[in-house]
């Protein structure tokens, strides 16, 4: 059954690609074997076949040939169908293979493999051999990735439940998505928040439940000059450090703090300890970070940070 359908679809493609003018449905029915006798049954099957070809990205064009009596016909313009000539040097083919491998086990794995197949068909030997010494991988573990990629690709507005950091429940958000960005291994979607009328960034792992389309394709406009990557970077970058914490840090410990310290000197009043100054911007995060060092780090000042760390430690004690 499926084999006969493949035969029919293949004949249809060859027929429409070879046609110099638009072929009407009746002409196609005459030329392509495998359609049923009844015209209605043929029409139904032909409609489905057209959809399947379009789904594969085959450019099926509709038009009226000057000679035909007003009846619209179909053809596949060769120029729109064929992959333009592409030649790759061996080193280029090698990086292409590496690129295709990047998506393995991720959302676009099938697409990457399909692309590689077409490029191989164009004569490129993009073997999936390992480039010596390096192995890149992307992951798309977040359930929302597939839908959001489609929304970005097709320029469709979406809505989804979103649980902002620290919130106990999720809230429905409406977004005109402009792009998806992976930063430090996490996926984000950026766009215009339709309720707030502002640019917003959402982390995919905090999307709760399914993503729904809220409008047809082509209804989202990405503003000129909107650099999605830069928007996410800005959103994710900590503001400039405005304050400095003075810490007592036990020697041979606190490496994570020493790496970002502006000064480190032995504590004159306590042997075996250093006085370390660390700039910070977000007191909440800094407090959690300092608490994680336990008895190896004591906050000297500022007082509010000192109190916050004591409070956090008491919370762990309770």
């Amino acid at each position: 059954m499926s084999r006969r359908k493949t035969e029919r679809l293949l004949s249809l493609v060859v027929c429409l690609l070879s046609a110099r003018r638009y072929l009407t449905a009746s002409q196609i029915r005459e030329a392509v074997p495998g359609y049923p006798e009844s015209f209605d049954a043929f029409k139904r099957m032909f409609e489905r076949d057209k959809d399947e070809l379009r789904e594969l990205g085959i450019p099926l064009e509709t038009g009226v040939s000057p000679t035909a009596e007003e009846e619209p016909g179909y053809r596949i313009p060769r120029q729109a169908y064929v992959l333009p000539e592409i030649r790759l040097e061996p080193d280029e083919a090698a990086v292409l293979g590496l690129a295709a491998r990047t998506w393995r086990r991720a959302e676009l794995a099938g697409a990457a493999a399909g692309a590689l197949l077409k490029l191989r068909a164009a004569g490129i030997d993009a073997e999936e051999t390992t480039q010596p010494g390096i192995e890149p991988r992307l992951r798309t573990g977040e359930a929302a990735f597939g839908r959001l990629w489609e929304a970005v690709r097709d320029r469709r507005p979406v809505s989804f439940g979103y649980r902002a950091a620290g919130r106990s429940s999720s809230q429905q958000r409406r977004l005109e998505p402009w792009g998806v960005v992976n930063r430090h291994g996490r996926w984000y979607v950026v766009g215009r928040d339709a309720d707030r009328g502002q640019t917003r960034v959402f982390r995919l792992s905090r999307i709760d439940g399914p993503v729904s389309f809220r409008g047809p394709s082509g209804t989202v406009t990405v503003p000129d000059g909107a650099d999605v990557r830069e928007l996410v970077r800005e959103w994710d970058t900590a503001p400039h450090a405005l304050r400095t914490a003075v810490l007592q840090v036990r020697q041979e410990s606190g490496y994570g703090l020493r790496r970002s310290a502006t000064t480190v000197r032995p504590d004159p009043r306590r042997a075996g300890w250093d006085l370390v100054e660390v700039p910070f911007s977000d007191p909440g995060w800094q407090c959690e970070h300092l608490a994680s060092f336990g008895a190896d780090v004591i906050v000297v000042e500022p007082a509010d940070l000192r109190e916050a760390v004591i409070g956090r430690l008491k919370g762990a004690l309770a």
Binding site: S2, G57, P136, G185, S292
Partner: protein, 339 residues
């Protein structure tokens, strides 16, 4: 591939990326046939076995594909067979391919998958061949045409805070087969460790760059995140990775729990939910009021103690009991410093 389960009813959004559940088996095979003909044409003569391998099918399936192609017949105006081919003595030759002698254009998903990955590779520290990358990107953009445009809306940023120069020296050691000496920061234990490592390869996973190598101290294959390398020296000594050193299968995940690991359970209040996003949890259960219960496995619980101090009242170790007691001791010891 399953039926269009993921797409909602009555929605036309084009093929789903990757798995493309809307593509029927017949259409899927059509795609292969449309690639198979130009594959042979562009190479003039190809072996049956090689071609079957390239398309990921058995030789029997391939022969069936070839028979199908050969049988294509159009009836109008006069009956004719547009495709002529032979596969004798294990070699395929296509002598007549008509209009399908060239592959179909790249679709949007296809073009974007490759372009996004290539641009990501251009950022990877330690990948020296940037000239090949930029040439490939340019050629692929040209070939993809409009289908590649959306790829500008997808970006992957590789974390390389300071990792670039470290990566270059790791590459150097890999190329020359040299041993490395690392000063490596282990945040979970707040330790700076010194060790010699025989490098095996660089991995770029989840936006981070890792050195995979044989650690002479642990006598095991270990991963080192490059942004945690405090200092690195390429030694004069030749690297000698033992035969039993198995590179890990990156497609199975970088960190796999082992049977000897300790099973830890934490209860998190809403502000502590980030833990489930940051650490690979074996199990995550929703509790009332936005709280979560997570279970993870780890060979070393010291980092969990530090995590528990960081969480304060936002999280609690519920199991094992000894670990919970250690956390209370740690907190008490820290508070004693403030007394």
């Amino acid at each position: 591939m399953t039926a269009a389960a993921a797409a909602g009813p009555g929605e036309r959004s084009g093929a789903r990326p990757g798995a493309a559940p809307r593509v029927t088996p017949a259409a899927d095979r059509l795609q292969r046939l449309l690639a198979l003909v130009p594959y042979v044409v562009s190479r003039k003569v190809v072996g049956l076995a090689d071609t079957a391998a390239a398309f990921g099918v058995s030789e029997r399936e391939l022969v069936d594909d070839l028979n199908l192609l050969w049988c294509v017949e159009l009836r109008s105006p006069d009956p004719y067979c547009p495709i002529d081919l032979s596969y004798e003595a294990g070699e395929i030759v296509v002598s007549e391919a008509e209009s399908i002698d060239r592959p179909l254009r790249l679709g949007v998903d296809e073009a974007c998958a490759l372009l996004v990955a290539l641009r990501m590779l251009a950022e990877v520290p330690g990948l020296e061949d940037r000239s090949a990358l930029s040439r490939t990107i340019a050629k692929l953009e040209a070939a993809a045409g409009a289908a590649g445009a959306v790829s500008a809306q997808v970006a992957v940023q590789v974390d390389d805070r300071g990792a670039r120069s470290v990566a270059a020296r790791v590459r150097d050691a890999l190329d020359r087969g040299r041993r490395l000496h690392l000063s490596y920061y282990v945040p979970g234990r707040d330790e700076a460790t010194e060790r010699d490592v025989d490098p095996m390869r660089l991995l770029v996973v989840e936006g981070r760059t890792y050195l995979e190598g044989w650690c002479l101290r642990a006598e095991e294959v270990r991963l080192f995140r490059l942004d945690r390398v405090l200092a690195l020296a390429v030694l004069d000594q030749a690297a000698s990775v033992p035969a039993q050193a198995q590179p890990r299968d990156v497609d199975q995940g970088l960190f796999r729990p082992s049977a000897d690991d300790v099973q830890v359970e934490l209860e998190l209040s809403a502000p502590g939910r980030w833990v489930a996003e940051y650490y690979p949890c074996e199990r995550v259960d929703d509790l009332p009021d936005g709280r979560l219960r997570v279970r993870l496995r780890t060979p070393d619980t010291r980092w969990v103690r530090r995590l528990a101090l960081r969480l304060g009242e936002d999280g609690r170790v519920t199991s094992p009991a000894e670990l919970a007691a250690q956390v209370r001791d740690d907190a008490a010891a820290a508070l004693a410093q403030y007394a």
